[in-house]
Symmetry: C2
Subunit: 352 residues, 2 copies
DNA sequence: GTGAAAGCGCTAACAG
DNA sequence: CTGTTAGCGCTTTCAC
């Protein structure tokens, strides 16, 4: 394991000059720089991260805090961040807080304080005020992904607009009986964004002059399985909606599968729209608001690196909204005419 | 940011003693230890990872190399590793190699050499001999997850047995016309394990006295979407199998959805079995060999930590096989009797 | 533009 | 059991 002293010796310069040449910080003549780089390459020199970090205070390492990596959105965001960082020579430290109750505590009051991180990307993290203060207290740049975090720069889609867009698509098709599958707030893995998708739903409903039926706003948990069960109950009831807006594609697909299992045709008997752009939506022809989480992650990482390059001058706190793409496929259509409704024999689904 | 000198001063001991008390390495009297811990807590002391790492050579940091984190198996493995490490106070550095062609190169010849890692967990990584040598050359313990890596300790299921188990289930039900959806080898994201699942398929077929039809061994890519398309082609052909063994649950679900879209009933017209234990299998009643990747990840991490605790004495290279669970649900049944075959009007599906 | 020297904050001999 | 003393390998003033 060659050290910088070996490199310096081979290039016949001091370690100081070698360091300057290798890092690009500080003046070095082109000729010496060339000699040093050659020596470094010849020896296969790789600087010790610990030594460099200790001496300089910079670690070339970004911390990513995420509720879990085995959920679609988080996985995609982490992928986006990881690839951006890998390109730029930065390490990525991953902290998952969703697993056990005290992991989040531990991460915030121990892991993040080890001075190993140049910056932090909290993903869809719901923090108490105290916790947010702790995060800020590490004195490093922060860029969040997902929900907006007061006081810090964040990257994400406009949740409310996405919800309104999806819902407006349904009302525009003429649907008047629309249910909404939202996701409950789980203290362990809060996404900090559901509320506003629901807000968009409510706004679009109001704008179409429709009333939101409380019993048709159903809390699920972002998973396909739970949504399947809830949609089955919803759609098996005597009165059922002609359309469902699910706050995630996985829940939307669960709804489609539930409808199919009840003998309902999509979109003939039921229209379904989701949010995400999940690969799963493809085979069932799901209409959705695609949100490209990789890009969000990559964007957050890029902003952070940019800040670090400008010597840590933090951008002013704000939410950077990234664009979504409305993908119309075959799960949405005009509502069935009252005469042609469904193969089920239940009472007329036309509500009050 | 309190340093160990502050702690030592407050506890009225030397920094050496403070270090010993805090790390548990070296002798300290109970009384002084208590004083040091109290002082540390009072000051909110968190040791600098860089300084500790530089001085000791240990970084309390494990590197995880994974093709990507946005695939079910990898995400679950990473989750398992992450939680185990978080519990033990270890950091996790994540490297994704699947994104761009040279990321794997970069990780192997730069990132891993920064002396920031105490150990490495390569997940389902397919390496050339040279690359494997590089990995070993970092001189740190290695425990792989997924496919077996010659020369290193690995944790994973018995792929061949899993394939044979799934296939044997089908032959046991009386199926004679069985297709297999396998996953091709992609140089960027190789899983290093598909071959053996297919090997299990072939063995079970042979044991049942059945011939493997080459045109019924179909290469897909582990994704639901691709499997859906290939299954549709397979099942729309004049002669079709009565059962499909898919090498992953996502591919199995794709097959089920394709069958449904063709008007085939599962399991009446077609039995489908997968491998994984993917959540998605639940709502479609998929019979599968569950493999619990979180446990595999956690196990690998635990073994690594154990090695590090024993001062790096590496366990002898071998493959540790973890148990699978065969979950029978509703996607498999006895094959249809020739008379009752399907609603499709095509030629008799009974082969040869 | 370059080198000498002083640390970064902690750990690990080595004495005592 | 505890303190003193060197570093770990690099970066960074500060002179020149």
């Amino acid at each position: 394991m060659a050290s910088i002293r070996d490199v310096a010796a081979l290039a016949k310069v001091s370690t100081a000059t070698a360091s300057r040449a290798l890092s690009g910080r500080g003046p070095v003549s082109p000729a010496t720089r060339e000699r040093v780089l050659r020596a470094s390459a010849e020896l296969g020199f790789v600087p010790s991260a610990n030594a460099a970090g200790l001496a300089s205070g910079r670690s070339r390492n970004i911390g990513v805090i995420v509720p879990g990596v085995d959920r679609w959105f988080f996985a995609k965001v982490v992928r986006g961040i990881s690839e951006e960082l890998l390109d730029q020579g930065y390490d990525l430290s991953l902290y998952t807080t969703g697993g056990s109750h005290d992991h989040q505590e531990k991460v915030l009051q121990d892991y993040l304080l080890r001075q190993r991180l140049d910056a932090v990307v909290p993903v869809a993290l719901e923090l108490t005020t105290r916790e947010r203060e702790r995060l800020v207290a590490i004195g490093r740049p922060i860029v969040g992904v997902g929900g907006a975090m007061p006081g810090t720069l964040t990257v994400g889609i406009d949740q409310e607009a996405a919800g309104a867009l999806a819902t407006g698509h349904l009302t525009g098709l003429g649907h008047r009986h629309i249910a909404h599958l939202t996701a409950g707030k789980d203290p362990h893995r809060d996404f900090g964004l559901t509320g506003t998708r629901q807000g968009g739903f409510e706004r679009a409903m109001a704008q179409a002059g429709l009333v939101v039926r409380p019993e048709w706003v159903i809390t699920s948990d972002f998973t396909l399985n739970d949504a399947y069960a809830r949609a089955k109950a919803l759609l098996a009831a005597p009165e059922r909606p002609t359309a469902v807006f699910a706050a995630s594609d996985e829940m939307a697909v669960g709804t489609i599968l539930a409808a199919r299992d009840l003998g309902l045709r999509v979109p003939d008997d039921l229209s379904v729209v989701g949010i995400d752009g999940h690969e799963l939506g493809d085979v069932v022809g799901l209409t959705t608001v695609a949100q490209f989480p990789e890009r969000q992650g990559a964007r957050a990482a890029a902003r952070l690196l940019q800040q670090l390059a400008h010597d840590g001058a933090p951008d002013e706190p704000q939410h950077e909204t990234v664009a979504t793409d409305f993908v119309v496929r075959s799960s949405t259509a005009v509502p069935p005419s009252p005469g042609s409704r469904s193969r089920r024999s239940a009472a007329s689904p036309s509500p009050g």
